[in-house]
Subunit: 256 residues, 4 copies
């Protein structure tokens, strides 16, 4: 059915520069620079709402990227373009057992929790209670909290509790400090991924991974460019993100 | 446990320029430019095998991208960097109902079938029996065939059978010819994605989408660059793919 | 000698976010968010001036790019990264005879006039007296006005006066309208370059060039990314220009 | 006039995949996979020659980039896209006094010698007699040898002879070893440019420049992508160079 259920997230799309994500509640007032309106009873997907200024707003489904980009944030964020690479360059599956460190703003946890199905599970570690609280809230709001176990813990010092996990994803300033911990927690053949802004972090961590017994390492960067497609002419957008993070991958092997 | 089961796919990793994907069978002979060897009984993940030339090969898990890049091919192929974008810029979930046209070499079907869980399902359409046979084989080998229903059909003319699907993914030379069919098959709010090499196809199809009732359209291109990370110096790889496909997204809305 | 002559342009460099271009005049007051100071008598290149807030400003030479990026502007501007391509993908030499249409803000005229030596000459056409006045001022200020002849003229309708020129550079909204004019003005073998933001303009103009008798056509786009190089870590800058203009090149041949 | 003079370089352009640079000599035989033909007497620019296989070849002028890309090579080469950046991000002028180290294959020397006019001068240093001989030959063939003085010398140890130069361009494996020498040779305010494939070289050299008294430093990388422009569809080329060299710039200031 096409009914929007109360509590579901909707995008109100009034144009590229006027779109909002919000939880549906009948009667809820919406305020925007393009006028105000109330969400009606019996809202349906695809409905067209008209604001006090006569502007149309379409009721559409949020994409996974929409959730990520609208998270409440305390820290840097994973970018959708990069999260896609993590899914494809590991063996991620709905039943995977995944560790992430740190929780960040919960962007990765939101996406992975939505793609996991029990017994698949994400274990999300962070040292900072404030960050983890935000991440938890974001997963509550946008993800599947039943698929995520949050752990407050200094993983540099204490490492991870789980064993035989499929994938460890690291987004910490000193990723080399968890390489040995990740090795202990991973299945043989399993994937360690880490995200770093600087080349020095990549080099140091890959060196440490090599010494610890990881193989098949690879480091990539991903650039995404939007295009303007118009009757009067098509061209790339002038604005573009020049850099987010380098992503590096390796797999646990036995010691020679 | 760490045992490789007979019939499971393994990567034999002997270095960046010497790695193979193969199905595990005890006793199976492996021939490479780095020497020959047989797969042993009781192979375990992470094992190290030594070839006749004394070279080490590590037994590691294939990534999702590994499957894609090693498919038997009859047609162009989706690139992992681009498939990640499709997952993130739609609302793809394990229980999604997805249509793809055409089947191509089955790259998208392999990945999606592995990420779907019943009642999630992929309906893969193609007009060309040879292509679809290859796609089927690839899904048999690398994906979850139980999650894919292949349909041999000229979708330009006949459209799609399913209704209320979440996502339609189009990789055809004339995507504008299935826009109306996709509109009929999609849920309100649902996603139409199409992949095209040329800007003219993007323009024509987006125009048609606009007239048909799709909103929130977006077109992107994704560039991925590998890095050499070495003790003696870090730098981007000289080789890089300059272009694969433009990806465009839109969502079904009601008619104004 | 290291003396700065009165009237010469200097960069006062106080850091990446605090640098100015100005004409040297002894006693001239300089106001900045990092404090005020006066330019001294007998200023020398490389001198260090200290502001009222104790910040250091270095006296250095402007680069060609500095001139371009600090021009007074009425129109879009050529980017240094793209102007370099124009110099290299034509046969530009100090003695070249070059036409440009339109004058724009004079960015190209500033650079070319500085690289030309008599009998080399630039003929700069524009239809808009206001734009051309700005271009002229910029060349007066930053270029070699003796190497540029400005012509106020509607080149779509009237074409160019000169014959046997080496290079014609077009930066107009409808470049296809000057292709035949450019053909008439160029030497055989000579270069037509045009800069366009949209792909449609490129396609239309190249088609027209092909029919008019140009060969060896090529279209490129250039991306430039800055890097942060710091003790604590090296990474690409987050900010980057996603698109400026497509540059297309062709050479005049005889008619088959 | 449109006559090609004996000894002048011409491009014989028979299509994107069939074009050659050669010195004009009447009667000279040309062999290609598209047939053979002889260069006629009284060749003119723009002429169309027809091969034994009936294929047309156009006689056009080489661009500066054509010269660079067709040099005889013993070493890595500067890319036209990067050489453009060097011209724009320094204060290069026809009368500049420039040092380069090393001579490489002479690519930079060819371009700069063609853009210099006396008293402008390039001093090209190399330690390797074989490389420098190739560079000299290339300048003899494609550049203006009267504007280049080659010096065979170990610049790491011995530095440069000239003083008060405007620009020093370094393309050596250990650029940091010539930073102090470059400082000595440059005018105050003058430019040091170095080209390095690896980030470590950039970091080390910039650190050394900072300590030596250079300011206003900047490091960039340039990507160039070709486009296919066809009636049936426009798209970026699949092939693209992912990396050539990082280019770094700084200017000599006085010591604080």
């Amino acid at each position: 059915m096409d009914k929007v259920r109360e509590g579901e997230y909707i995008i109100l799309w009034g144009g590229p520069d006027a779109n909002f994500i919000t939880k549906y509640k009948p009667g809820k007032p919406i305020h925007s620079h393009r006028g105000v309106f109330n969400l009606p009873e019996n809202l349906e997907w695809g409905d067209i709402l008209v604001s006090s200024k006569g502007r149309k707003f379409y009721v559409i489904k949020p994409s996974n990227a929409d959730f990520v980009l609208r998270l409440k944030r305390k820290t840097n964020i994973f970018y959708p373009k990069d999260m896609g690479i993590v899914l494809l360059y590991t063996d991620f599956k709905p039943h995977s057992k995944v560790i992430e460190a740190g929780s960040g703003s919960g962007a990765m946890a939101v996406i992975l929790s939505n793609l996991l199905v029990r017994p698949g599970r994400l274990f999300s570690y962070d040292n900072n209670p404030t960050h983890q609280r935000v991440a938890k809230e974001n997963v509550q709001n946008f993800g599947k909290p039943e698929n995520v176990i949050f752990r407050l813990r200094d993983v540099y010092v204490c490492g991870f509790i789980e064993r035989d996990v499929d994938i460890v994803i690291v987004d910490l300033p000193e990723p080399w400090r968890v390489v040995k911990h990740a090795y202990k927690s991973l299945k043989y053949g399993g994937f360690l991924v880490f995200a770093s802004p600087n080349i020095e972090q990549v080099k140091e961590t890959r060196k440490c991974m090599y010494e610890t017994g990881f193989v098949a390492m690879r480091t990539v960067e991903v650039l995404m460019r939007d295009w303007q497609i118009r009757d009067v002419g098509c061209r790339p957008e002038h604005e573009m993100r020049g850099h987010t993070l380098f992503y590096s991958f390796g797999r646990k092997a036995k010691h020679p």
